[in-house]
């Protein structure tokens, strides 16, 4: 039986995690993630959730607890944001290498300095190379649904990698939304208990992440990449299973929105997608052929799906809420690398937008689409990414 509630995004995530029956939850507070672990703490205190709830003294420890608990055979979970995710970085690379399938909710927030607590994707983009599977969600409902899938994907024997569900801080975590929840029996039927092939056992000692020299290290690293790429069909299947039990299909690795016959296609991820869908609807009603590709699964990078969805477009405008200093935005770089050398490759514009919570509204999208059309007409190749709405007065 379905339940419907109006809840904060953080509560929706906490309810999804609770339904997945984690053995261990580690917690360290940081805005805008705090409400998630607070909700889980309340559930434990109220006797609604039976789990080992471990308060740590830093995010480094919170991640280390997950690594240890996961190696011991426990389904494990934590949430963090921004600086906290950066502090976890070393542990997350090691955990992916040791193939430990825990789940982290990464509540997106800008990286200091300057200090800022609003949303952009710099924090999780800085972890894109770690070997984590990364999802980005548009709504609290999608956050709930993806968290159900996350544990099953992480623990799939063909994958065995940590999964990070990225959701925009404040915009999703702190707004109230109508969310539908599954009953426990349905979740239990979908998600079996965690049965790892290897687990820490004093009676049968094993070593994780043992020393590997130049003759084998490359193969270990390649095996992580293989697990991601070869795991794509399993990710698609598990997302489809969730769509079946929830009755909601948010798409597979990507969602193509009104891309048929579109001349200009935007590529985006996170909560800004909702705004872009409204903008696309407006632009379509005024006769412009505009579409959107929403990336749901960013790692592994779903290039096949994206190339299929943008086929026929003249310009692809990527919305990057991150920037690789001295280069360009991460999603733009990924996409251009996969388009290189293809005779049908469209022009790609890499827009850097929304850093530190800078507003992106329907008018912003309208301007960006106009600019994309202008680039196409002029035939210019853009020398670098375009930063959206920069204030030239401040830059002097």
């Amino acid at each position: 039986m379905k339940q419907v509630k109006v809840v904060e995004g953080s509560e929706a995530v906490a309810l999804a995690v609770k339904a997945c029956r984690p053995h261990v939850v580690s917690a360290f507070p940081i805005s805008p993630q705090t409400h998630i672990v607070e909700s889980l703490a309340r559930m434990v205190a109220d006797g609604e959730l039976s789990t080992e709830y471990i308060r740590t003294e830093s995010e480094f420890s919170a991640a280390s607890v997950l690594a240890g608990a996961s190696a011991a055979g426990s389904r494990s979970y934590t949430a963090s944001s921004s600086q906290g995710l950066l502090l976890m970085t070393e542990v997350l690379y090691a955990s992916a290498g040791m193939r430990l399938p825990f789940v982290i909710t990464a509540v997106n927030r800008s990286i200091s300095a300057p200090i800022n607590i609003q949303v952009d994707h710099q924090d999780t983009m800085s972890l894109r190379d770690a070997g984590l599977i990364q999802f980005y969600v548009e709504s609290s409902q999608e956050a709930y649904d993806i968290h159900l899938a996350a544990f099953k994907i992480a623990e799939d024997p063909a994958i065995m990698l940590p999964v990070m569900v990225c959701m925009d801080g404040w915009v999703l975590t702190h707004s109230y939304e109508r969310v539908e929840f599954l009953d426990q029996d349905t979740v239990d039927g979908f998600l079996p208990g965690f049965q790892p092939q290897n687990y820490l056992d004093p009676a049968n000692p094993k070593t994780w992440g043992s020393y590997a020299e130049a003759d084998v290290l490359m193969e270990f690293k390649y095996a992580i990449h293989q697990a991601m790429t070869a795991g794509k069909p399993r990710i698609r299947e598990i997302l489809a299973e969730v769509a079946k039990i929830t009755g909601r299909d948010h798409g597979g690795l990507v969602e193509a929105y009104r891309t048929d016959d579109a001349d200009v296609i935007l590529v985006a991820m996170g909560s800004v997608v909702g705004t872009i869908k409204d903008a696309v609807d407006e632009l379509r009603s005024s006769g412009k052929k505009v579409g959107l590709v929403k990336i749901r699964c960013y790692r592994p990078f779903p290039h096949t799906e994206i190339l299929e969805a943008i086929r026929g477009a003249r310009v692809v405008a990527v919305m990057d809420a991150n920037f690789s200093m001295g280069s360009e935005g991460a999603v733009g770089l990924d996409l251009k690398a996969k388009l290189y050398g293809r005779p049908d490759a469209p022009i790609v514009i890499d827009y850097i937008a929304g850093l530190g919570g800078r507003e992106i509204n329907i008018n912003t999208i309208g301007k960006l689409v106009e600019r994309a059309e202008q680039v196409y007409r002029s035939g210019d190749i853009l020398p670098e990414a375009e930063w959206v709405d920069l204030n030239s007065v401040l830059l002097g």
Binding site: M98, R99, L100, K206, T207, G209, S210, A212, F220
Partner: protein, 85 residues
């Protein structure tokens, strides 16, 4: 041999890995000068100082030649000699 995901192997494998071949300086204990205080064993970061028949001896399978034992020896009874390879 196929790789095991996550490099999970049996426990205690670090003992199979003889780090002694990293060494380019070899600590040599002068048993005449040694006062058997045990400081060398306490400070060795690799647990490579062993007591055998009441003599302090270096386990060259694991000694990396860092020289802390020689530096800390109050009797100047440990000499670091170039490793011959």
């Amino acid at each position: 041999m196929k790789l095991n995901p996550g490099a999970v192997v049996k426990g205690g494998t670090s003992l199979d890995y003889k780090t002694g071949n990293w060494r380019d300086q070899r600590p040599v204990v002068d048993q005449e000068a040694c006062i058997k205080c045990g400081i060398c064993r306490d400070v060795c970061p690799d647990d490579a100082v062993k007591v055998k028949d009441e003599k302090y001896e270096i386990d060259y399978d694991y000694c990396k030649g860092c020289g802390i034992c020689a530096h800390e020896c109050t009797a100047d009874a440990i000499n670091m000699l170039p490793e011959e390879k």
